[in-house]
Symmetry: C2
Subunit: 234 residues, 2 copies
DNA sequence: GGAACCACCTACCAGATGGTAGACGAGGCG
DNA sequence: CGCCTCGTCTACCATCTGGTAGGTGGTTCC
């Protein structure tokens, strides 16, 4: 492994042969959890190191500074997120099924790595130095999504909206439904795995009735009654 | 003015006779801006004081600790928010008009005091000690909103949803559309006042088509074409 | 005039923060 | 063996953090 320079070597994400994840990856994992839930500023290198059973200086050996750690984390997380979305998109069908596939993949991420979406928010809040880095990686996906929505509207399958604002609305809703634990709690809903499934169902129904133009437009738009409403064994 | 105890005297929000806002209010204003945009942990009392042209100790004179300042700020902000929403609700009509009134009032707040919604998010992220305080004040409004949505669904004016999850979705969307400046920028939309109006229009159309059950359910659900699409002169 | 109070100040402090310098042991390799 | 690199450590450090102690000038009230 090569500690120098903020940019990690290409195999930094890979598992080492027979032994668990590399030190750099373990640090990134811990940083993801802490940055994504408690926040960047509220996380000290000392507390991070303590949770890892090492000294702060070891973290600074792998990542020359706290900011460099954040950048590396953003890079890795953006790649992971992009991959999840890409995969879902490549396997998805057409029209509404594509939207559904994306939403499902985001919820799958939320179930497996809840902090990843938290980090997304955090980075958005931290602004330019960090945010632009994230944007750079996710931009192609945004463009793809935007183009897709536009074509769906053009062909009359979806209601007309400003594609970018629609995208922002979908983003906000989905990420909010997943990350706003406190609001959830205030609403008397416990943030359990079961609740997450219900939230996904709800948001899909909501989006569907908001977006999809049924041919007759008169259908009752009932709940999907889709039996495969769990991602556990997808 | 009475500095002792975290609870400010009842006139702390009021303007003093002929001279600007009270010192305590000026501090709260600065705290709102900084907490709401940069975040609570990332804001130091020193930087806050510097922006106010005073010493940190003067802040600690009015608010015994940083946490007490946050609590006082939450109380004031919650009251302000609750008042805005209450007012909008009391003046609003029935059915969809009520939803529209609430959304409009939130956007009005966003235009006049952008950081207030940022603080809302921040408090949600900070969790229990602070979040419960906010919840306490806003809870009656949530109950009112929830009951309203439920009755609308009962009477067949709105699509059936879990009222609380629907509320969370609406909250996330509206607050996200207002506070996610970085995402906005990533989407190529500059966070101007004009853009804010467009976002409000878009979200209202979106919500309307998602929620409202037209009698025939077949109407084109066109854009509202409502001429009073600016809040500048209500 | 003087006591009391008010709003703000200077002078500190203990602890935490991100970061540097340098040593140490383990292992690879000529 | 001797040398070097790697990963981690101990020992510091300057700076900043929230917070305490104790003043100081001005106004109010008796």
């Amino acid at each position: 492994m090569s500690p120098p320079a903020g940019a990690l070597p290409p195999d930094s994400t890979a598992r080492r042969d027979r032994e668990g994840p590399s030190t750099a990856d373990r640090i990134l994992d811990a940083a993801l959890v802490s940055f994504g839930s408690r926040g960047y500023e509220a996380t000290s290198l000392d507390s991070l190191a303590e949770g890892l059973g090492m000294r702060k200086q070891s973290i600074l050996y792998w990542f020359p500074s706290k900011e460099a750690l954040l950048e590396a984390l953003i890079d890795r997380s953006a790649a992971e997120l992009a991959q999840a979305l890409q995969g879902a998109l490549d396997r998805a069908g057409d029209g509404w099924a594509r939207v559904e596939a994306v939403v499902r993949s985001v919820f799958r991420v939320a179930a497996q790595r809840p902090e990843l979406l938290g980090l997304l928010r955090e980075v958005g809040r931290l602004g330019p130095p960090a945010a632009t880095r994230l944007t750079l990686v996710l931009e192609p996906l945004v463009a793809r999504a935007s183009a897709f929505l536009e074509s769906e509207m053009e062909s009359g399958h979806m209601r007309r909206h400003d594609p970018r604002l629609l995208l922002l609305a979908i983003y906000s809703t989905v990420v909010g439904m997943v990350t706003e634990v406190e609001v959830l709690r205030a609403l008397g809903e416990e943030p359990t795995a079961r609740s997450l499934v219900r939230r996904r169902q709800e948001i899909l129904r909501l989006l569907r009735s908001a977006l999809v133009l049924e041919r007759g437009e008169g259908q009752p738009a009932t709940r999907s009654a889709d039996p495969r409403d769990s991602w556990d064994q997808e």
